[in-house]
Each structure stands twice: as structure tokens, then as C-alpha cells.
Symmetry: C2
């Protein structure tokens, strides 16, 4: 990884055009070809960047110009960095950094609910995960205690978009007379109030699930019933 602190002006042209006036910034060049231009403020995002695969040209000694290019379909993405002063320029060999282990994302939620579909509704049995339709897969297809079909849409955070998505699936599936009575359930760690209102106005049920409970690390919160 090469870290250059330099006074520079940056031009990007590609999907849009952008100009960064001259200022002191960090140029970060990873060994995979990623290039990022960071200011000392502005949070998480670089002011400018290019993702691999790239071709990087360096000009001048001391460094006075960098061009980063990328073939993006018909057009070319291009980052022009004009350098007027190099404050620091160091390279570090970092080897391979081990990958990230995540826990708590939607796929994990789907796994747990597939194993314990009763959290989505009483008596629910799983028919299959990723039930295919021609507009995309339904997260969980179940049967309820009356043997009726139920499509379950799973989100970490459910917004209006999730309700629209489930609506589309239900509309499509109901075109099949054999499944015209299918019901919809929206299951999420968090359901936004507006999403809940829209979902219930469309006859879908909403279920907020607790990751710790699904994992069996914690008993369901019964305090409300113990008063």
C-alpha cells in the first residue's frame, strides 16, 4: 500500500464529471489497484476514488502527476491527479489481511427463521427457502396451521420498499388460482412504523424478531404478560 500526502487537484470523468480544487489530501493506492483520495474531513467516503481493475500511470520525480484509468464498458473512467507538492510518500508491504467474519446480516436471519418458522406465525412449516417466481425469489414459502400458503419476506430493517416487494410477489403468485389465497408475512428485526401501517393496510402480518431469541441465547421477553 502506497500512502502519499500531497497538495493536489483531482479531476474525475466517467459516469459524471467532478473537480476537486487544489488542497492537501491523502492519496491511498492499494496493491489491488484501488485508488482513493481522502480529505481530513468528510467521514467514511473518499472525495474521489476508482475501484479495480485500474491502470495507474505515475509521472515526474518528484511525483507531479497521476492518471488512473479504467475500462467501463463503452466509455472510460479517468482520474487525473495534478500534484504540486509531495509532503510524504511511503509504501508498506502488508501481505494478505485475513477476511472479515460477519454475524447478524439478513442471510443469517433467513437461516434461523427457516429452522424455526413458527416465529413467523403459529404452526408455520417451511416449504422451501428462496421460492422462485419470475420476478425474484420469495425468502421463505410456508404453510400455516390451516395448511394455507404463506410468503415470508425477511429484512433486517423493513421499510416501505419491503412491503412493495412482498406485494409484488403476492400479486404475481395469486395469478395462479391454486395459490390465490396466499397470505403475506413481513418478518424483520425492526419494522418502520410507516411500513407497518402500509403492510397491515394490505392485509399482511408483521413480525418483529429478536436475533438473540432465535439463537436461543435469550428467552422470549415475557415481562409484558407477567404484570
Amino acid at each position: 500500500m502506497r500512502l502519499i500526502v500531497a497538495r493536489c487537484e483531482v479531476r474525475y470523468s466517467g459516469r459524471l464529471d467532478a473537480l476537486l480544487p487544489e488542497a492537501l489530501r491523502l492519496l491511498m493506492i492499494k496493491s489491488d489497484g484501488s485508488v482513493m483520495v481522502h480529505a481530513d474531513t468528510g467521514g467514511y467516503k473518499p472525495q474521489n476514488w476508482m475501484t479495480p481493475p485500474t491502470v495507474i500511470e505515475y509521472e515526474g520525480d518528484p511525483l507531479s502527476h497521476m492518471v488512473v484509468r479504467k475500462r467501463a464498458g463503452a466509455t472510460e473512467d479517468r482520474l487525473d491527479i495534478a500534484i504540486t507538492e509531495v509532503v510524504s510518500d511511503v509504501t508498506h508491504d502488508m501481505g494478505e489481511a485475513a477476511a472479515l467474519e460477519k454475524d447478524g446480516v439478513e442471510a443469517h436471519l433467513q437461516e434461523l427463521l427457516a429452522e424455526q418458522p413458527h416465529w413467523c406465525g403459529e404452526g408455520f412449516r417451511l416449504v422451501r427457502r428462496e421460492w422462485p417466481t419470475d420476478i425474484g425469489p420469495v425468502d421463505l414459502m410456508c404453510r400455516d396451521d390451516q395448511d394455507g400458503w404463506v410468503a415470508v419476506e425477511i429484512k433486517r430493517v423493513a421499510t416501505i420498499d419491503a412491503v412493495e416487494q412482498l406485494s409484488r410477489y403476492l400479486d404475481r403468485i395469486r395469478e395462479d388460482p391454486a395459490m390465490a389465497e396466499i397470505q403475506g408475512v413481513l418478518a424483520a428485526q425492526q419494522i418502520k412504523p410507516q411500513a407497518r401501517v402500509l403492510a397491515e393496510s394490505r392485509g399482511m402480518r408483521c413480525v418483529e424478531v429478536d436475533l438473540a431469541v432465535l439463537r436461543g441465547e435469550r428467552e422470549p421477553d415475557l415481562t409484558l404478560f407477567l404484570v
Copy 2:
């Protein structure tokens, strides 16, 4: 901006839990409180990070531990960085970097189409931009050559979400008997096939527009008709 190259193990807990095993990485701490953990590969994204506002604690000399914390409602987001070796540790005062000037984002597309609404449909005249409804503003409200109302939704890239959004606007506006016949147009630099199918199945028209043509930098591509 402080740049630390160090062998470290990183734990994140908050919206999810994640662990980065010990490896050599770059720790980037901006003066606004942003903290990023970058590997030498993996492109644009940090392996781990925290956005401002944060509280950062440094322990040990040489640095052996960092804790980055953030109040996020009821819970706390937390980044624990255990450092076993500091390879480099430098701080640069960068001052204020001027902001980015962009050209070509959706707002510009809306501006250009507002000036030249005929690209959305023959004989279209603009009534107003950002026409208010109680579920959000319609990008462009126009009248067509028959004097009929037309709501135009503008995207840089139009996906199914854009169709849903326009559908919601049309449904709402049609509740007013005076506008029950309003038509919908989806205008975008790029329209995804499934979005096009859904839009047309709902009676909306789709228009792909070319930024260069809108700007008058290039004539409409007529080669198809010249064969």
C-alpha cells in the same frame, strides 16, 4: 489526519458483530472523528470503520489498544483495536479541503429536462418542477399535446423502485377526479429491462435520455434511421 500502520486485531459490535483476525493494516483517523481500518486489498471499502460522531481512546505507549465508541440510540457501537506492533504512526495537518464539484447527477438531469420537456414526450410543456403531493414531490408535472396531465419521474438509473415510486404518485394524484386521467412517464439515462417491463405493464411510458444531447453537445443519434 493520523495514519497508523500496525499489526492489529479488530472487533466491531453494534448493528452486527464482526471480527478481523490479526494482520497488518492501515488505521486512518480523520480530524472529524472518522476511523477506518483498511487492508491492502478489498477495494473501496474499509474492512471496518466508524462514522462521526465518535469518542476515541488511545491506550499504551507504544500504542497497544484503541477503542472507538459511538452512541447510536439505545445501543452503543464499538470498535476495539488490539495492536501488537506499530510499524508507522504519523500525523498530518491538512487544513480544510475544498468541497467536490459534481456535474451529471440526477438533479442536473431534472434541470435539463425541465428546460426541454419535449424530450419526455412530444408537445410536453412544464407546469412545475417538484410538484407536491402528500407522499412526496413529483419530479416534473407536465401537460401533453392533448393538454392532459403527465407526471414525470426522473432517475439516472431507473430500477423497479422507480416504477413503484411513480405508481404511488399516480395512485395518489388520481384520487383527485380532476386528474384521474393523469399519465406517467419514466425518464432516465438508463432503464433496467425489468423496470421497463413493469412500467409498461402499468401503462407508463419509458424514455431513455442522453445527457450530452440534453446539453446540446451532441445531436440525437439518427444513424439507425439513415441505413
